[in-house]
Symmetry: C2
């Protein structure tokens, strides 16, 4: 009997925005795995902390989220191999995921390497929803499509998507802020847009896009914009 | 001192996919409000049930979710007026929302009518995330934009959005299924698409789009599709 791999969405960072189902899984699994920064920090691990069982095994793996996926392939290979050993030994493993595991999550890269094992995904609250909540603005209403766009796309691609869009969430903004601002302006979406950075943390900031002068903002920032009807 | 209006996302339907924060608010507020169908059914009320305080006041209001928003305006007016009386009397009110309050939620229509009161939004897991979880497929990865599209849009508008798209979640499919299928086919996204209906319920169904012959499927259905890279 092999173990089950759980992809556990722990939500956007606020420890109270985890689901009852995620709490239940974390309180039962003997092994957790999570991506950590080069400094050993892990937001997902921090949120999970109060719910973990004593004596659990922890597998931390380092991913550089600011770099293209190809640069991290070998790290995912190694993490998946380590997790596979636990699953093969019959132990369930919870892979902790910030936000939702299947929305731009690193869990997808683990799951494709571990598809031979049983996999269960626990969905989570995404940072896009959390950004809207603190910004006091709708994400989308009625028949408006909502487009979620990684800000790392080239400026012309961003502008093309934004020009068609009625409701927008630009994610992973970070050092792409100046470019994103130009693309939003070109698409007629700059005025009225809101920037939400590091939602749920002590240094959370929510401000109108036009009030922010910096060239670069935190990686975990979301820009929300809607086209007036 | 007026009360606070809480927009509480209770998640997609599975009672365990509610957040700790939502549970805490539900266990503290003296008044709850929720949209109900003409039959008096309310998914959000059902999910909230185990967490409510004894002796609470309940405000149920009837919304016909299958009709355009304009047909429901007067009902939102009446519901907001009823809620305003409680807030004015100093009582906090939790408006229960399926999924996330700000993603195509009726909460937006209450909040715009009650903007004079303090408002706090508790984000929730959306049915889009829940559909991906049971379908075992990523919503979006890497730099692919994700577009969430209400299926009630006209066929040519759907086709235009889909033709540009790399990752798609078509929502509120219901009686728009045949049209959505044609638009997906025209955009080259039909093969490999998955339909998830009534996720978290006894009659949940997850199946390849091409395997479903009906003209119409449940309103709470999501179609997920991605363009192969």
């Amino acid at each position: 009997m092999t173990g089950t791999l759980y992809g556990v969405g722990v939500g956007p960072g606020d420890p109270d925005l985890i689901t009852l189902k995620a709490v239940r899984v974390l309180g039962a699994v003997p092994v957790i795995a999570y991506p950590a920064t080069q400094n050993g920090e892990s937001l997902a691990r921090h949120v999970a902390q109060p719910h973990l069982v004593p004596g659990r095994i922890e597998i931390a793996f380092t991913i550089d989220i600011t770099r293209p996926h190809a640069d991290n392939e070998a790290r995912y290979d190694a993490a998946a191999e380590r997790i596979a050993r636990e699953l093969t030994a019959g132990r369930d493993v919870a892979a902790l995921c910030e936000g939702d595991p299947l929305l731009y999550g690193s869990f997808v890269y683990l799951a494709e390497r571990l598809a031979r094992f049983p996999i269960v995904v626990i969905p989570g609250v995404s940072s896009v929803m959390a950004a809207a909540a603190v910004s006091h603005r709708p994400l989308a209403t009625g028949t408006d499509p909502l487009i979620v766009i990684p800000a790392s796309l080239p400026e012309d691609t961003l502008t093309r998507h934004l020009t068609e869009a009625r409701a927008v969430a630009l994610i992973k903004v970070g050092r792409h802020f100046a470019k994103a601002k130009r693309a939003l302006a070109a698409a007629g979406l700059r005025d009225g847009a809101t920037v939400a950075s590091r939602v749920g943390f002590a240094d959370e900031r929510v401000a109108p896009l036009t009030s922010i002068g910096e060239e670069s903002i935190p990686y975990f920032s979301v820009i929300l914009a809607r086209r007036p009807s």
